[in-house]
Structure formats: structure tokens, C-alpha cells
């Protein structure tokens, strides 16, 4: 697959990215654990070396919204810049994640020293447009397109060496909530994707044919 997601690493270049990682402290996060939680103080950010994460927003009445998916080469947690600002979202590991934790002031010094402030601004534009609500929900795509695009996104961002990278790590309920669709609609679309061979049959949602999935996604 020639697909390579465009993260901060791609904008910075491999060499710059390697220099950035040297500024951080090595951390590993088990699947299902939080890298940061909404409401906590900020002051540091996390550069993802491997693994996917879910960025989640929690509403005051306890609802959870999938804001975005990030993976290796991305930076998360840069919005809460100081210890006095609070995390506006939670970040949870989908896979086991290897990451570098970098203090925000060191990150900004790095950007200035490497003349990367402009590239970072480009990255923020990219991030703000590549959110689940704007890409999948606000877009007026039909349900088939939305479901296929989210599944494709999850597979594209999966670690290439992960044995079960084609397994969709979200439940049908989570997919439905993320897309703003009824659960029954998501179930219908998954049945359709199974019937064309894009997904394999069986209880779990597993992508069987990425090219077919792309066709459904219009990608």
C-alpha cells in the first residue's frame, strides 16, 4: 500500500522528526489506557512513535464523542499549552503506543530553532480539518460513504506490522456515535460491505479487501 498518512512527521521531514523525538521522555501506553484526560492540567504534549489513539471529547452530561484519530507521526496534546490551561479532550490508546512526552516550552523552542513555526501552523490547519465531525459527520455524504471512510481511516492509520491491523477496534455503537448515524444504519451498511466482500463475514468487523472498501468510500 502506497498510502502514507500526512502527519507532523511528513510536514517536518524524517530528520526533523527524529530531532524532535530526542527532546522527549520515552513512554509506552497499553491499549485502552489514557495518554491524557480532559480537564487535567497541560504543559506537555505527546509525539506518537507507533500506534493509533482516539481523541475523545466528553460532554458535561457524560456523553463521549470521537473527535479524531491520530497515529504514528502525529503530535497530540499541544493545545493545552501551560500548566494553567486544561486539557480540552482525552486521548486513549487504541493499540499499544510508543510515544515521547515533550514539555510544551521545549516544543516551541524547537519550532523556532528549526524554523518550523510555519509548518506547525500548516499542521494545525490539517488537524482542525481532519476531525471526525468535519470529515465524516458534517460532510453530506450518504451513510455508505461515511461508514466506509471511517473504517478506511482506521485501517490506514493502523501500525503496518500489527497482525490484526484489519480488525476494526470500535464497536458498532461507537461507529454509529462517531458518525452521527443510527446504530441500525451502521449495521445495514456493515451488512452491505460484507456482501460486496469489502469486509469479511463473521461476528467481528474485519476489513477483507482495502481496494473494495476504498471504492465504497469513494477514495
Amino acid at each position: 500500500m502506497a498510502e502514507r498518512p500526512l502527519g507532523f512527521r511528513a510536514l517536518l521531514g524524517d530528520e526533523g522528526w527524529a530531532r524532535l523525538l530526542m527532546l522527549g521522555t520515552h513512554r509506552e501506553f497499553a491499549s485502552g489506557t489514557y495518554l491524557m484526560r480532559q480537564g487535567e492540567p497541560g504543559g506537555y504534549l505527546v509525539a506518537l512513535v507507533s500506534g493509533r489513539v482516539k481523541v475523545l471529547g466528553h460532554t458535561p452530561d457524560g456523553d463521549e464523542l470521537l473527535v479524531s484519530l491520530r497515529s504514528a507521526g502525529d503530535v497530540v496534546g499541544e493545545m493545552a499549552t501551560g500548566e494553567h490551561s486544561r486539557r480540552t479532550v482525552s486521548v486513549m490508546a487504541i493499540d499499544r503506543c510508543i510515544a515521547k512526552v515533550i514539555e510544551t516550552h521545549r516544543f516551541h523552542r524547537f519550532l523556532e530553532e528549526n524554523r518550523a513555526v510555519g509548518r506547525y501552523a500548516d499542521y494545525l490547519v490539517l488537524k482542525l480539518s481532519q476531525t471526525i465531525p468535519s470529515q465524516m459527520q458534517l460532510a453530506r455524504f450518504p451513510a455508505e460513504r461515511r461508514v466506509a471512510r471511517l473504517l478506511h481511516e482506521l485501517v490506514t492509520l493502523a501500525p503496518p506490522d500489527k497482525p490484526d491491523r484489519f480488525l476494526i477496534p470500535l464497536s458498532q455503537g461507537e461507529l454509529a456515535r462517531a458518525l452521527g448515524l443510527a446504530r441500525s444504519t451502521v449495521a445495514e451498511q456493515i451488512a452491505l460491505l460484507r456482501s460486496t466482500g469489502a469486509l469479511s463475514s463473521g461476528r467481528r468487523v474485519v476489513v477483507a479487501d482495502v481496494r473494495k472498501l476504498r471504492r465504497h468510500a469513494g477514495l
Binding site: A2, G118, D122, L219
Partner: protein, 249 residues
């Protein structure tokens, strides 16, 4: 020469896109990309909630490195808003996921939008047509001011558009596109025998466009597009336009 008055042919909204650096891409990718362009446009129309409009093109033609289409004139405001932003979003999504044909080289486009009378010689949707509006559309999409928008911005700016003066007055200044008129920056266009005022529109500006505005004070060329950090301050008029553009996002 005898000249007789004639009735005007029907007014159409004309839309053309051109891929930046099409010829700079690997030749083996050209066919694939040519095939992808209408598909990407169709998805942008779908994303904008205009799937039906895409199906109701009056005529269309592949232009080699782009695509040319005519729509009912009533569609004009919708081609500006929400279509342009939807096309930017669709291109950015594909580029961000490395899906553009051309392996990693992001796909970026120029678009031109005009309105005017178009004579249709053949009833087939791909038949020949003629008219000043059509010539104007092609002149505009190739004009330097819109080309410069892409060379002076970063890869997150996937679309730069230029709109004819008539299209601007009929759809934007009139309020039909429901956009602030100051999102559009006026510019003088000169190409071959064509000379006119037109309007620039960039749904997602970046790089030098943010630092210095849509219209470069000095000829663009030697300076690389990136590194707005090293640039001096913006001109007041365009930065105001952009501040407003961002306030709306």
C-alpha cells in the same frame, strides 16, 4: 458583412479545474489522474450536498490536466459556496491520507468560475460549444494571480479559485452565495488579448498567503512558498480579509 440581431444563447455557470504541475508528474500517472479528477469533483459535490447538481451538468469536457463543466446559471452561488470549501476539504483529506495518484505528491488544483451565454453546437453533453464566457474561464484558470496563490502557499492549501467579475457581482455581491464579499480579493488579469478584473478566493490559505496576502506586493518567483516565519508583516487589507475568513471557520 450583413449582421443581424440574434437572441442570446442560454446563460450557464462555467466551472473549470486544473491540476497544479500536472506535467511535472510521472507520465505513467497521467491516465490515472485524468480519470480521478471527475471522481474527486463528484465527491466534492456530494460532500457539499450537491450530488444532484453534478448529475445535471449541461456539458462537460476533460481538458487533459483538468475538467470543464457547465451548469444551469442558477447554480452559480452554490459553485462558490459550499462547493469550493468542499473541494478543498476533499482534496486535503485525500492528500493527508496519501491517496492522490502520484504517490505522496499532494494533489492541488486551481478553479475558475464564470457565468455567461454559451452557444451549444451539439446536443451531446460533450459536444463543442463556444462563447466568450468559455474563453474567459480558461484564461482565468491559467492566469498568473491564481497560479501564484498555489506557489505562495503550503500543501494544506489544496485549492485556489478565481471568479470572473460578473460571477462575483451576480452571486457574491448580491448576497446569493451567503458569503462575506471581502473573502474575495480583487485582482487585474492579463492574458493574451484578455484583460479583466477578477476575484481570488482561497478556502484554506497558508504560508505566504497568510503573511503577505493573496496578491504579492513584488513579483513572486525566487522566494520559496514555505517559511512564513521569516516574512515581514502582512498588508493591512488582505490580513483583515483573512482574519475575517478565519473568524468564520
Amino acid at each position: 458583412m450583413d449582421r443581424h440581431p440574434q437572441v442570446l444563447p442560454p446563460y450557464r455557470s462555467l466551472f473549470v479545474v486544473d491540476v497544479k504541475d500536472f506535467n511535472g508528474r510521472e507520465g505513467s500517472r497521467h491516465a490515472e489522474l485524468t480519470k480521478d479528477i471527475p471522481q474527486i469533483l463528484r465527491l466534492a459535490f456530494e460532500r457539499a450536498g450537491l450530488a444532484q447538481a453534478w448529475q445535471q451538468q449541461r456539458f462537460h469536457r476533460h481538458t487533459g490536466d483538468g475538467y470543464f463543466a457547465g451548469f444551469d446559471s442558477a447554480m452559480l452561488p452554490l459553485l462558490l459556496n459550499p462547493l469550493l470549501s468542499a473541494l478543498q476539504d476533499e482534496l486535503l483529506h485525500r492528500n493527508a491520507r496519501g491517496l492522490a495518484a502520484g504517490h505522496g505528491q499532494p494533489l492541488r488544483m486551481r478553479a475558475a468560475i464564470t457565468v455567461g451565454p454559451v452557444t451549444e453546437f451539439a446536443k451531446r453533453p460533450t459536444g463543442d460549444r463556444s462563447g466568450d464566457a468559455q474563453i474567459e474561464t480558461h484564461r482565468l484558470v491559467d492566469a498568473d494571480p491564481v497560479r501564484n496563490l498555489l506557489t505562495r502557499s503550503g500543501d494544506t492549501t489544496c485549492l485556489a479559485a478565481i471568479v470572473s467579475e460578473r460571477a462575483y457581482h451576480d452571486a457574491v455581491a448580491s448576497g446569493y452565495s451567503a458569503e462575506r464579499p471581502d473573502l474575495y480579493v480583487p485582482v487585474e488579469v492579463e492574458a493574451k488579448s484578455y484583460r479583466s478584473r477578477a476575484f481570488l478566493r482561497v478556502p484554506s490559505p497558508s504560508g505566504e498567503l497568510l503573511a503577505k496576502g493573496f496578491v504579492a506586493a513584488e513579483p513572486a518567483g525566487s522566494a520559496p512558498a514555505r517559511a512564513p516565519d521569516e516574512r515581514r508583516g502582512a498588508t493591512p487589507t488582505t490580513s483583515t480579509v483573512l482574519d475575517k475568513a478565519y473568524a468564520r471557520r
